[in-house]
């Protein structure tokens, strides 16, 4: 999917449909015996993980535990950040041992957030396997990391920002592309 700058590739009603597709796609990727847990990467990965878990529950009938991961302390650019990094709580009130952990984030771009998230995650336990699900995937990877599943794939030139909005944080759902 290629979108011009400033356009709105996904509107609020489409986002719910994308989440449902992602839930269906995710169930197809895991074996029935795997115990799934979702970890949302703060900030926007968390509400997405919670909504994805609802859809998975509706589809499979089983409740899926959801936790949150704050990756600030694991960022590789922490010392170069301008302003004070604000660390928010990581909440994983369940064991990761032998589970299939699905990391959920809004956008996959350079891959550095996911690299940090994997470091953070492994400090909490040793899962059986780790998967990555994102709402929007774009090109520009700086690390050998790829998503197992993406809501949409957008082609945008460098210097542009793909922004996922979620109603829990931004008041509305949507995906936009802006010049930055």
């Amino acid at each position: 999917m290629s979108v011009p700058q400033g356009s709105c590739p996904v509107d609020p009603s489409q986002m719910e449909a994308l989440l449902l597709d992602m839930a269906t796609g995710l169930l197809a990727l895991v074996k029935p015996e795997e115990e799934l847990v979702l970890l949302g990467i703060r900030s926007r990965g968390l509400p997405l993980a919670e909504r994805l878990a609802e859809k998975l529950r509706a589809l499979s009938g089983a409740p899926i535990p959801v936790g949150s991961l704050d990756i600030t302390l694991y960022r590789d650019d922490l010392t170069e950040m301008v302003g004070s990094p604000i660390v928010r709580p990581t909440e994983i009130p369940f064991t990761l041992k032998e589970r299939t952990v699905v990391l959920v984030d809004d956008v996959l771009y350079t891959g550095r957030t996911v690299r940090s998230a994997m470091d953070a995650l492994l400090d909490h336990g040793r899962p059986r396997r780790v998967m990555l699900v994102v709402m929007a995937e774009r090109s520009g990877r700086e690390l050998p990391i790829q998503a197992d599943l993406a809501g949409i794939r957008v082609e945008v030139p460098p210097g542009h920002r793909v922004a996922v909005s979620v109603r829990e944080i931004d008041g509305t759902d949507g995906i936009t592309v802006e010049a930055c």
């Binding site: 004070s84 604000i86 709580p89 400090d123």
Partner: protein, 319 residues
Amino acid sequence: MTSERYVFPHKHLLGIEPLSPRDITALLDQAQAFEEVCERPNIKIVPALRKKLVVNLFFENSTRTRNSFEIAEKRLSAEIINFDADTSSLNKGETLIDTAMNLQAMHPDLIVMRHSAPGAHTLLARHMKASIINAGDGSHEHPTQALLDAYTLRKHFGRLEGLRVAIVGDIRNSRVVRSNLWLLNRMGAKVTLVGPPTLVPQEMKQTWPGIEICHDFDAVIPEQDAIMMLRAQFERGTGAYIPGQGEYSRFYQLNPARMKRARKDVVVLHPGPINRGLEITSDVADGPNNLILDQVTNGVPVRMAVLFLLSHPHGEQVP
């Protein structure tokens, strides 16, 4: 939680006095995030201060504060050098400035210092590029103690504003009191200072007009949400101001009889080390209302928050 755009504007933590309510809230919120790290079942270490060098420079004895800082530094993956006054060249006549210059040559990022002279930290801050953290300076300030006290109170009550806190004992010689007065006043708590007239300087009301001073402990107990007992510091000369330890205990010891006058849900704090049987009895210090060991536990995430916020680029950089 503070907003994403907030910038902690200080390079050093020399005291609570220069901090705004927003700065204090930011530190306490960060400490909350670090408490999660400290309570993890597995790895209680995060790489946030990797490759940063922290020097612990203690010119005065301290077990609790120093260990607490060292644990905080280790949990943040910092490189640590412990520099004890006993083993240093200070005994050979080196001045504080010389010591500072020598340390500067090793390019530390943060220096945690305890020194008996108020102002030693300001002097050091002027001569060094590193961020200076005051771990206690004479009877002037002990900012991380006040922050961990506030953190403990906020965690228990969910707020600081409007809390009624009595601070009891050797007010005159206590740096903990001064830092707590700056902090609690700024955050809207109502503080009453309690102790014998010789140990509670009236002029403190000029610096902190919002406070009450009372010499009758029994009279103020019933209305307090929290009672913070101070250590009677005979090593700092408390003895010169009071007739005797027995007399002191009779009027200002927190014991079961006095606890009966207090609200059922009152909490008892003490910065330690405790003189059991002097300012507080064991049954109160170990009783159901005490948060004394919570204070010790909370000291680590609070100090992690201080180290973390100071070790990252600052805004306009006010001291």
